[in-house]
Symmetry: C2
Subunit: 256 residues, 2 copies
Amino acid sequence: MNLLLLDRTEIDADNVATITDVRARHIRQVLGAEPGRALRIGLIDGPAGTGTVVAIDDRQVRLACTFDEARPPLPRVDLLLALPRPKVLQRLWAQIAALGVGRILLTNAARVERHYFDTHVLDEATYRPLLIEGLQQARDTRVPRVSVHRQFRVLVEDDLDRLCPQATRLLADPAPDSSGDACDALETARTTSDARVLLAAGPEGGWNDFERRLLISRGFQPFSLGPRTLRSDTACIALLTLVHAALSSPRPRPRG
Amino acid sequence: MNLLLLDRTEIDADNVATITDVRARHIRQVLGAEPGRALRIGLIDGPAGTGTVVAIDDRQVRLACTFDEARPPLPRVDLLLALPRPKVLQRLWAQIAALGVGRILLTNAARVERHYFDTHVLDEATYRPLLIEGLQQARDTRVPRVSVHRQFRVLVEDDLDRLCPQATRLLADPAPDSSGDACDALETARTTSDARVLLAAGPEGGWNDFERRLLISRGFQPFSLGPRTLRSDTACIALLTLVHAALSSPRPRPRG
């Protein structure tokens, strides 16, 4: 836990937070904090800041909080992900939040099994703590917005323009004809302030032809991770890593 | 399973392989293969090729094998990894093999707990099937060489030059002074055929100052994944992804 996330309801009118749960135990046992110790904190979906321990005992920790003026920027990437197996998704929630996404759109696809939708891993009560865990790891405060879409075609044709307007759309594809256009599109996004990227990552076994064609017809540019085919969860982490790196890379430096 | 890996001992003098285990079940039940079907195969640590089903029943599958002349190239990256928690390492084996490394050097570090070394996850009988699983996913045949080093300093000072000679050495570091030298080093490695990269990834909580200084004194160039601190397993996947992408990226194209 590199940043302690607090909910607005935990903070009183004098900006003192009282926490009693696993975070209090972490502060006592892992950080070994004593009164006076300053901790990095953040308000869920709000600014980061500093919490100074003012009281600590076996039951609770009280922190005097000050916050930055601005909240951290929303990660510039949104993820359109074919719904993984529940066991895989359970592991991915925190990792996706740590890597940084604004939105997670989970969708059906031909190679997604129907029973994947009948899982508690899609309940907000299950995934929200995992997203928070990932944010606390990565020192972010902005909780990704999650939506579940049982009809791929309705999502792509009717809803996507509203949910993710004006994003550069990229389609991870094991064997595209050319990744050149996607590189150009990413380069354009990188040099355009506030430009967003919507990244589509398929199911184990990939999108089928209909899905691939529909995505491409709606502006998704195919690009490849390279010749090695990765498991969908590994691919998801690798793709988010590459897109973030491309968006944040410095302009090429002149070489002597 | 995108490529079926065979051991040399499974193939008879007429180049017919007889398999009876979980791979046979995969060929029957997942691929639904019948006689005449050609499957992508590979020889462990040897060439890839094609296996044509010549007989299939509930007990076994027999494949007539032909192999390419050359074996696939060794991945150009080696990984020096502070030993993760057993549960994390168990999950990482297949993913590391799928991403592609030549060697995995697992090392002690100040923030590695001693009991991590007392685990069956470090037994070859446990990890080899997981490495093979990752190779079959990524269509590779070259099994990463694994070694375990209980003394960090002895490894870095005495053994590393022999185990990983002449590699470009990179050190993942949350907050380096500058990543510029590492970028230059990677660019040099990219444009040098057969150049190898040795990537050092620290434990949860990072290398301590002594370890970081020792690595830097032995030629490791620090570079950062960016402002978000990742869990060590997520970081490991992200780092291998970035180094492979840097090594395989096309030369920058002129822009109009």
